[in-house]
Amino acid sequence: MADKTMSAAEAVAQIESGMTVGIGGWGSRRKPMALVRELLRTDVRDLTVVAFGGPDVGLLCAAGKVRKLVYGFVSLDSIPLDPHFTAAREAGHIETAEYDEGMFVAALRAGANRLSFEPTRAGLESDVLTMNPNLKTVKSPYDDEVYVAVPGVRMDVSLIHLNRGDARGNGQYLGPDPYFDDLIAMASDRCIMSVEKIVPTEELLRDAVPQTLLVSRMYVHGVVEAPRGAHFTTCDPDYGRDETFQRAYAKAARDPEAWSAFQERFLSGDEASYHRAVADFHAAEAAESEEKQ
């Protein structure tokens, strides 16, 4: 039985410049941040990134790794906009395919189903068609309706983060929402799954219902154990969003000088040093708020 466990560095080494990379999660929720941080440590560039975007997209934009972004939105949820993403757009640095959220899901579904397109009403008469001049409509063969033919999106590699998984690549979510991670895995040639904890297969359902088994090993090519690997986004029920840290991220991202300092402090080392720096950050915050009291 294949053991697919590997280090984050080994996993990310499968990504080459110019590839199309899908990222799971939603906004600032259950993002594969440890894998994204690992990707930041490489010299890969010119990526086409496909995501319901959050700080994953912001970080990759700031690092100059994104050539094109396929997205329904980019948001930090509790903070509406990611400053790196807005800066990259306003500088005209990235190509975009901005879709309606439902169209984005249709694109993933068509990709997973190996269909060239999926019909949907969403997008008709909106400027999504103006902003994506390659999009075509299709006339219904049955009645007087016309739909947007959303082209299926296929990804070379996708990155997702789940709560638990086994060494063979079965992935389990324990939070309230699966997002679209299974669909993203199915629409990808290779899927790298990080998990909070790798457990023996027989333990997956010890305290959970079978419906939590979201991702099948058929679609997973690498399993990376990454505790707190979604930080600073949510990973319920293991941990919620680190709002204090997210605020610090967004604040730094608005100012180039502050961003250099943030990078130096948090992103210049490996994953272990990232988590140490985050712990130090919280210790300093706690000391400061104690002083104020």
Binding site: V74, R89, E101, G102, V105, G123, L124, D143, P176, Y179
Partner: protein, 253 residues
Amino acid sequence: MTADVTRAEICVAACSDTYRDAGEILAHAVGIVPSIGARLARLTHAPDLVLTDGECFLMSEPPPLGASAAAGGVIEGWVPFRRIFGILNSGRRQSMMGASQIDRWGNQNISAIGDWRQPKKQLIGVRGAPGNTVNHRVDYWVSSHTRRVFVEKVDIVAGVGNDRARARTDQSLRFHDLGVVVTNLAVLGYDAEGRMEVRSLHPGVTPEELQEQTGFDIDVSRATTTRVPDDEELRLIREVIDPKGLRNREVSA
């Protein structure tokens, strides 16, 4: 009680009124005032309305503002994001969304300001506006009614307006249904041609002020005065739904 009613509370009641006759559908509300309005509707004239906790659970009783199912309450359904798109495609949903720009035909923009290729100001993206507006009723909420929002022409059409929907010669947009625009100054509707008009001005707002804050000519001639919430509505707003008074942060008195 009605003597000291705030502007925000008048807006809440106007948002609540958008769900009259909505039936047994999912209420989707973006913003504090619309969220209070949906809960108020559920507790008064629209008992069949379906409400979410803002995450992925349907709650059998209106959940406290800003609290997810984790904070308590009875869950009656599970609607992760993947099922939301099915619900909106089925038409069993009604939305009140925000608008960074809106024009006289109800074309709405939340995507970006300026040229989409290199915007002057990137906003959140079109999100679900294109799909919502072609699948079920959509209303808009504008907490600050100004010429910057009410523009002659929006930079990017996210939510589809009446002119575009009506220009179609086929049946594809048969579910397009713009309701009203509730703002801090007025309730705006659309006339027979689909052009925006003023339904009612909030108490104390003059027609001149409304026109001054609107970047296109708008018909105020048929406007009445927006109703003030009754005592029971005020009690629900103040004591049950929004005891912390978050509504007054979104709209100042």
